[in-house]
């Protein structure tokens, strides 16, 4: 088990973030809702390969983990697209991937997993340390393949769990009492992935209840305006309209 993750950083990382990120690294190597531990590990390694090919990060010699599972070509295509070309993904791409055998739930799980890995890798790059090495698959549990009964078409490429009351108890467990913005509901077709994304955003940025409160105080070393400046520059590069 990983005990420390950022001992080699010259810059301070809080125990809260370190613990969250240790759990993140372990999550890629564990069975999910739609993918086995071996498949999820292979997806993560495939995304890493694409990032290395673009020169966006250094290799830490974990590319071989991409061979942990024989992934469908469409899953490889999706993982690579999310890693390095997400701004060109459109509804037709999403439909093509599913037509080639990746289920809607698996699509969402791959998107969330690769996006969460990008969070880790960009953070390490910012600190000036190598990406944290991916772990070997940790279990042989079969995925549950459970699709939430509450999920509906909200106009996104994939179904999602709407806010309460339509989303029921599941929505409250994911989003809390108040209505959640679209980005918090985006990957809720796979509730475990949504919980992880929401937990990361709440610790690393601001919780949903403070998103539009520009006077909120926080433990961040930057002001809210400075934080938004960094966020905007990153989103401009990723051509993210949202």
């Amino acid at each position: 088990m990983l005990m420390t993750l950022y001992a080699d950083s010259r810059y301070p990382v809080s125990p809260t973030i370190e613990a969250l990120h240790v759990d993140e690294m372990q999550s890629y190597a564990r069975s999910g809702t739609w993918g086995t531990a071996a498949q999820r590990t292979a997806i993560a390694a495939t995304a890493r390969i694409a990032q290395c090919e673009q020169g966006l990060q250094e290799s830490v010699d974990d590319e071989k983990l991409a061979a942990q599972a024989k992934l469908p070509d469409a899953a490889v295509r999706l993982a690579r697209a999310v890693a390095v070309d997400s701004h060109n993904i459109d509804r037709k791409f999403c439909q093509d991937i599913q037509a080639q055998g990746v289920s809607e739930g698996a699509y969402v799980e791959i998107v969330a997993l690769v996006s969460r890995l990008s969070n880790m890798d960009v953070f390490a790059r910012g600190l000036g340390i190598p990406p944290r090495k991916l772990l070997e698959p940790a279990d042989e549990t079969l995925p549950s393949f459970e699709r939430p009964a509450e999920a509906v078409d909200e106009g996104f490429f994939t179904a999602s769990v709407p806010n309460a009351p339509e989303g029921g108890a599941l929505a409250e467990s994911l989003y809390g009492k108040g209505p959640a913005g679209n980005v918090f509901r985006a990957v809720s077709l796979v509730p475990d992935e949504a919980r992880r994304v929401i937990a990361l955003v709440s610790q690393q940025y601001f919780g949903a209840e403070h998103l539009l409160d520009f006077h909120v105080t926080s433990d961040h070393a930057l002001s809210r305006a400075q934080i938004e400046l960094v966020a905007t520059k990153v989103s401009e590069y990723n051509q993210c309209f949202y």
Partner: protein, 90 residues
């Protein structure tokens, strides 16, 4: 904005392959804003790298209450030309 130039330089370098530029941008942030600022800027960079990918790949639209108040600067900044704009603007 105070130290805005250093932060914009760092955020831009974070997204590009030039490691020498990234190292220089990081040093500038550490020198002017302190080492904790490097950590926070990196956290925010990672966080939005994640959210941007989720938003782009799931095709979410901008929340209704934000669309109108942002219309003027979206147009001015060229954000409406991003491929993912179609998910909101149609």
């Amino acid at each position: 904005m105070e130290h805005g130039c250093e932060l914009v330089r760092f955020a831009g370098a974070l997204m590009k392959p030039d490691t020498a530029e990234l190292a220089a941008a990081r040093e500038a942030v550490a020198e002017r804003l302190g080492p904790e600022a490097v950590t926070t800027a990196s956290i925010i960079g990672g966080n939005f790298s994640m959210l941007d990918r989720v938003a782009n790949a799931i095709g979410i639209s901008v929340d209704a209450m934000v669309v109108k108040p942002t219309a003027d600067f979206r147009e001015a900044l060229g954000i409406n030309t991003f491929p993912s704009a179609v998910n909101t603007l149609g």
